[in-house]
């Protein structure tokens, strides 16, 4: 591999206009990451309102009406505002550096796809101050609760979803165009780092399903304002149709939030095991199969809706199949660690926790796939525990891992290892205290999305609330660590992690210059 650094180009402009007009993938990547962190704190605050109310039985802090707004906004902000933009930010920073491209393929569109996001989320959050309150029908917004019975702010919610959908689609087109056209000479598809591969597949998923989400909210808009009856039985429509269309989007969406995480972990584990990733090819095939299967399992979210038995059986079998490629991935990671030479820096700790806790979430997912048993699990805290195990120690931990792993490359400074490890352990204890007891209360019969609960659930809810506040506080600590690193961390070396880290990004100086790979490197 050869290293090419551009020094004849001008640096960034100064002041706010640098950020407003920038077309530089690194600037845009940073903006995505900071934006998603801000949304993570907002969505987290909503979660803490929920956990505070659930600390004890009875209504103490908020009324049920507002509680429902909090569960809805927490879900929407975390999914569309925190996790997805964070992955797009990582893609912006890393994909050009990993494939030896000077920038993204469509830099101006890149600027647009970021800058419409703050507008979408300002609109979304402003609904909290509107008459009738914010959307209160859950992030899955089932009709007719979200149409006939919705607060007036639903129209703003629909427009916000349209804008963030447009942003995601533009971002995905950009990522695919970059990967297909700007790879350095010699960088064949089967030589691409797995993070690039997983994002390549994720971008296709986004292009396939974000328009369907746009379609479903458009139908809602028409039902609410233009007298159509897509989802109203009275006019020949069907509320169940809403769920089918929503989950046709929603299930691939779940994988959109986890596939890039697979890529990150597949980069970090080999580095700190000092051993090549085991089974690169099968990782690529497994990711593709997961993406394909995600289109034919959507109705497992609807086992209790009243489907013919053939439908139940089909979706049960298809869902169980997902365990196969997911298993392959977990086995590959574990085998990569086996007989390696392991060290446990912060990114590795997060990556190991990812594998363990994501597997726990995956196994509870397997339990949920069993249709007859799902009649007991469905819409209880068992489901809440399941998807938080795959999303928090899954998606969020992988993002933490990625930030610790690549931050020295981005800003040129090394984070403080002791503080990083403290952040890890606080987060690890926090999330397990929060979400593990939820398995138990769920099995014991506590439904999800309720502001108050029966007395037998009191103890575990109290534990979960304490864990949630611990986890929340550790993220303020994370912010402190990042700011400290950027301001006065020790300078990092160019290869940061020694020679065990693979990839073109480690061949350029730290911090990465404003323009990299203006002459493509040659990959052998």
């Amino acid at each position: 591999m050869s290293t090419t650094t551009a020094d004849h180009h001008h640096g960034p402009a100064k002041g706010f206009s640098r950020w407003l007009y920038t077309t530089n993938h690194k600037d845009i990547g940073s903006m995505y990451l900071w934006f998603s962190f801000a949304m993570f704190l907002v969505g987290g605050t909503f979660a803490l309102v929920i956990r505070a109310e659930l600390f004890q039985p009875g209504l103490q802090i908020v009324q049920p009406e507002f509680f429902n707004q909090m569960t809805t906004m927490h879900g929407l902000i975390m999914v569309f505002g925190a996790v997805m933009p964070a992955f797009v930010g990582l893609a912006n920073w890393l994909i050009p550096m990993m494939i030896g491209a000077p920038d993204m393929a469509l830099p101006r569109m890149n600027n647009w796809s970021f800058w419409i996001l703050p507008f979408a989320f300002t609109m979304m959050l402003s609904t909290l101050f509107m008459e009738g309150g914010a959307p209160n029908f859950g992030w899955t917004f089932y009709a007719p609760l979200s149409t006939t019975y919705a607060p007036p702010s639903v129209t703003f919610f629909i427009f916000a979803v349209h804008i963030m959908g447009a942003s995601s689609i533009m971002g995905s087109i950009n990522i695919i165009a970059t990967i297909m056209n700007l790879r350095a000479p010699g960088m064949t598809y089967m030589k691409m780092p797995l993070f690039v591969w997983t994002w390549f597949i994720t971008a296709y998923l986004l292009i396939a399903v974000m328009p369907v989400l746009a379609g479903v909210v458009t139908m809602m808009l028409m039902d609410i304002h233009f007298g159509t009856s897509f989802f109203s039985a009275a006019g020949g429509g069907d509320p169940v149709l809403f769920q089918h269309v929503f989950w046709f989007f929603g299930h691939p969406e779940v994988y959109i939030m986890i596939l890039p995480a697979f890529g990150i972990v597949s980069a970090i584990i080999p580095t700190f095991s000092r051993k090549r990733l085991f089974g690169y090819d099968s990782m690529v095939y497994a990711t593709s199969s997961i993406a394909f299967l995600s289109f034919i399992v959507w109705a497992h979210h609807m086992f209790t809706v009243g489907m013919p038995i053939a439908g139940e059986l089909f979706f049960m079998y298809a869902t169980m199949l997902i365990a196969v490629p997911t298993g392959v991935k977990v086995f590959n990671w574990v085998t990569t660690m086996f007989r390696g030479s392991l060290t446990f820096e912060t990114p590795m700790l997060f990556a190991i926790a990812f594998v363990i806790l994501f597997t726990i979430g995956g196994l509870s997912g397997l339990m949920l796939a069993i249709a007859p048993a799902d009649f007991q699990y469905h819409d209880t805290y068992f489901v809440v525990a399941h998807f938080h195990y795959v999303l928090v120690p899954g998606a969020i931990f992988s993002i933490f891992a990625a930030v610790y792993y690549w931050l020295p490359k981005w800003c040129g400074n090394m984070y403080d290892e002791t503080l990083g490890k403290m952040h890890f352990w606080l987060s690890f204890v926090g999330i397990n205290l929060t979400f593990f007891p939820m398995h138990w209360v769920g099995l014991a019969g506590m439904p999800r999305r309720i502001p108050d609960y029966a007395l037998q659930f009191a103890d575990f809810n109290m534990v979960a609330s304490m864990g949630a506040f611990l986890f929340g506080a550790s993220q303020i600590f994370f912010l402190f660590i990042i700011v400290k690193t950027i301001r006065n961390g020790k300078p990092a070396t160019d290869d940061v992690w020694g020679d065990s880290a693979e990839g073109l990004e480690w061949t350029i100086p730290s911090p990465a210059p404003y323009h990299t790979f203006t002459t493509p490197p040659v990959v052998h």
Partner: protein, 182 residues
């Protein structure tokens, strides 16, 4: 390079526009799917053309009638008989009673739903008040007919069919016509 980027991007844009269309195409696709599989107990909302097949006197099917009023619907709405015993292939008839107790004209739409789901495609309505909206002036009563045939090919394990109607108030959507009726 630039042209290939443009080509990729346009193609992907095309895909996303097509997927937006696909979202809407799911609506009719779903209806076809429901009618074929009896999903949700949806029955056809078209009058059935009787083919005059033989009546299978060896089997008797119990057909139950249920009625529900949707939110805010003040009408009285009841089947005149709770259940009928019919032979497959036989044309059966019953009536439903409806009354608008309010002072002003209202429009209603009855929505049928049937269990078990696997009987839905074998339940043929030759005439049903659910095919159209019903308009009643304030205080008006009506007897509404339902004629149906249970298909001879109905699965052997079906002995009871439950047909439920939910009555929806659609006055606000149909208001121009009510104004006429008033």
């Amino acid at each position: 390079m630039r042209t290939s980027i443009a080509k990729t991007s346009l193609r992907l844009l095309g895909v996303s526009v097509a997927m937006f269309g696909f979202g809407f195409a799911l609506v009719p696709l779903y209806d076809v799917f429901c009618e074929v599989t009896g999903l949700n107990g949806k029955t056809s909302n078209q009058a059935y053309e009787s083919v005059g097949a033989d009546v299978d006197r060896s089997r008797t099917i119990k057909v139950q009638f249920l009625t529900t009023n949707n939110d805010g619907m003040a009408w009285q709405f009841k089947p005149t008989i709770r259940e009928l015993r019919v032979h497959p292939g036989e044309l059966a008839e019953t009536e439903f009673f409806a009354k608008n107790p309010s002072a002003s004209a209202m429009v209603a739409q009855a929505v049928p739903s049937l269990v078990p789901f696997n009987a839905a495609e074998f339940f043929h309505k030759t005439e049903c008040f659910c095919f159209t909206q019903q308009t009643l002036a304030g205080g008006q009563e009506i007897m509404m007919p339902l004629r149906f045939i249970v298909d001879q090919d109905i699965p052997k394990d079906v002995h009871t069919i439950t047909l439920a109607y939910t009555l929806f108030d659609v006055t606000s959507k149909a208001s121009p016509r009510v104004a006429q009726a008033n």
